[in-house]
């Protein structure tokens, strides 16, 4: 019993060949080093680009302020010079609302030109400061600049898609195509898919997969539309050709097409 207890309560000793405490300390030490180095790199980068960021904001703020002052001055000067009235006299009877008067447009243009200039100068300053910190391996900032471009692409693509979809819808409805909405949706999604592919490509996400998927989707939509329109409008095309031939024949036979009921309606 004494032996047993002695065995149980004897101090536990590790074999000399397994230095566990020593290795744990080493891992923590390495992790800590890695974290410190990473933190150091990020802080160094931030310190390197901080003046650039500040310069960007300062330039933007200063030029916005200048733009506001210039805009107010132009508005005052042009109003005092009765610029709108003079232009109206020169153009004849042209009149405009206060929000779209030439004075307002010029003042607004001057303001936005200043803002744009400030933005350009700010971005240029940021670019210079970032170039100094560029050797530091961090890929987030270039990615952010790509993201800005991608957002512009997305907005432009969405606007173009909506515009084209409406154009097609109205044109198809006025041409009395029964599948006008389907056609419009097809065009809209074609442009949206194209936009999405361009955005992903710009963001360098997906690589070849995006191109492949885009090709398949785009081709699929075009094929679907072609089949739908081709099969659905066979009658329409034949009717259109027939009516064209009939019109030509009528014109050849008689110069007065008022006998036909449909032709007797004259919009002008």
């Amino acid at each position: 019993m004494t032996n047993i207890l002695a065995t149980v309560f004897q101090p536990f000793t590790y074999p000399a060949s397994e230095p566990v405490y020593t290795d744990n300390a080493s891992i923590w030490h390495h992790m800590s080093d890695a974290l410190h180095q990473s933190l150091y790199r990020v802080l160094s980068l931030l310190i390197a680009i901080l003046p650039g960021i500040l310069a960007c904001f300062v330039a933007l703020a200063v030029f916005t302020l200048i733009g506001m002052v210039l805009s107010a001055f132009l508005r005052w000067a042009l109003t005092a010079a009765k610029f709108d009235d003079r232009l109206t006299r020169a153009r004849g009877s042209a009149e405009w609302t206060p929000s779209t008067s030439p004075t307002a447009l010029i003042a607004r243009g001057a303001f936005w030109a200043c803002v744009l200039l400030g933005l350009l100068i700010g971005v240029s300053a940021f670019d210079v400061s970032y170039a100094t910190g560029a050797p530091l391996p961090i890929s987030l900032l270039p990615y952010l600049t790509h993201a800005v471009g991608a957002i512009f692409l997305l907005i432009a693509g969405t606007l173009i898609a909506r515009f084209l979809a409406r154009s097609v819808l109205i044109g198809a409805v006025n041409a009395q195509l029964q599948y006008a909405r389907f056609l419009s949706l097809g065009v809209k999604w074609l442009v949206l898919v194209l936009t999405a592919a361009m955005v992903l490509d710009h963001l360098q996400i997906g690589g070849e997969i995006v191109s492949l998927a885009f090709g398949i989707l785009f081709g699929g939509i075009v094929l679907t539309l072609a089949l739908a329109v081709g099969l659905g409008s066979r009658d329409l095309v034949s009717r259109s050709l027939e009516s064209h031939v009939e019109r030509t024949d009528r014109a050849a036979v008689s110069t007065n097409p008022a006998g036909n009921s449909a032709d007797s309606i004259r919009h002008f």
């Binding site: 009149e95 006025n174 449909a262």
Partner: protein
């Protein structure tokens, strides 16, 4: 009648011919030209008349008339900015007191009509003489639906055909229109439409409407209504937009003239089914766009119309007036792209045409219906003025 060069070179070694009345003939086929010249010869026998006819016209057949050859390369079914610029330049050159602008198919006008147009500007002191054609109920429908009601309501003019194909102009009216036209021609937009009635009213000039008889209307080069209606309506909307400060003031409408006798030329009822199909198709597809332009009340009215059977199809006059006003407001505010906006108006216009033809077929005089529509436009003018000034106000 559009000309490629609004300031053609008509100089010659001889001094320019002068005439108290200058007649500018549109480019048209030779047979039509000959008929028009014959009518002119009959209307103005032995008078000091100067006719500007397209180059190459055999003028020797009428030795009693003076001709001025004018280079005309383009053709248009109605008068354009280039025509007005040309007329102004010729009237200044030949020192004419009055100008008669005659469009294609002018030979279908009687000699008395031509005389009436000329007399209005030469002897009656009018600056703008505009004909009131005697057209069948199925003709001139855009005039009846949009141009006449809008011009009457906003510019207080009873000119029945604001987009007339023939006009009589005084010298000062020609100069005014010429200066407006010059702005377009200098921008290479010679085919732009001008609105002489609006111009004359804004200038405070006298307008005289002459009862002309039946007239054969020239066919537009592109008869597709979905192409031509946006062009014409867009031009009028733009003109109205430019004169907002003028038409917002209330004005007294001149007294009504006796209605024209019913033209029975087209008794055959027109087939309205394709127009109703176009409207119903548009109702199912264009609601999203219409809802950006029209208030809920008008959309409800259209919803009711979409389920009405063809024989009972009638678009209320006040609904049509409100629709046109809302499209005009959306045009001004650029609520949506202007091309889309005017394209979306086409099916609604076709619905009005179907309703008008149904009304005419039911025995109501078409002219009376058009007058009722114009009266609805007048009654609803405060709505337009109010929303023009305060577009963001609540609009049920």
């Amino acid at each position: 009648m559009a000309t490629a060069d609004p300031m053609p070179d008509v100089t010659s070694a001889a001094p320019p011919a002068t005439g108290s009345l200058l007649v500018l003939l549109a480019a048209m086929p030779t047979e039509q030209l000959e008929t028009a010249v014959e009518k002119l010869a009959a209307a103005f026998p032995g008078e000091n008349l100067l006719i500007a006819a397209p180059d190459g016209f055999a003028a020797s057949a009428w030795p009693e008339l003076q001709f001025v050859p004018t280079p005309q390369t383009g053709t248009s079914w109605t008068l354009t900015a280039a025509d007005f610029a040309h007329a102004c330049q010729l009237s200044q050159k030949h020192e004419s007191r009055g100008i008669l602008l005659l469009g294609q198919e002018a030979g279908s006008l009687s000699a008395a009509d031509l005389r009436g147009l000329a007399d209005a500007v030469l002897t009656s002191g009018a600056d703008l003489a505009i004909p009131r054609y005697d057209l069948p109920p199925h003709a001139g429908l855009v005039n009846s639906a949009i141009l006449y009601p809008l011009t009457r309501a906003l510019f207080a003019s009873r000119a029945r055909y604001p987009l007339a194909i023939d006009l009589g102009l005084s010298r000062r009216m020609a100069e005014r229109l010429g200066s407006v036209a010059q702005r377009y021609t200098s921008l290479n937009q010679g085919d732009a439409l001008l609105w002489p009635v609006n111009e004359a009213v804004a200038a405070g000039f006298a307008i005289s409407e002459i009862d002309a008889g039946p007239r054969t209307l020239p066919r537009p080069t592109d008869p597709d209504i979905s192409a031509i209606l946006p062009h014409v309506a867009g031009s009028l909307f733009s003109d109205i937009d430019a004169r907002a400060a003028f038409w917002q003031r209330p004005r007294q409408l001149p007294p009504a003239r006796p209605p024209l006798p019913l033209n029975s030329e087209a008794d055959e009822p027109a087939d309205i089914a394709p127009m109703l199909d176009a409207f119903r198709l548009a109702y199912t597809n264009l609601q999203e766009i219409w809802s950006l332009v029209l208030p809920p009340n008008s959309l409800l009215g259209l919803k009711r119309l979409a389920v009405v059977e063809a024989p009972a199809f009638r678009m209320p006059d006040n609904l049509w007036a409100r629709i046109v006003y809302d499209f005009l407001l959306a045009y001004r505010l650029r609520t949506i792209n202007r091309g889309h906006l005017l394209g979306a108006l086409v099916p609604l216009y076709l619905a009005w045409v179907a309703s008008h033809l149904n009304t005419a077929a039911s025995g109501t005089s078409p002219e009376r219906h058009v007058e009722a529509v114009a009266a609805a436009f007048e009654a609803d003018k405060p709505y337009l003025v109010s929303r023009w000034r305060w577009p963001d106000r609540f609009n049920p």
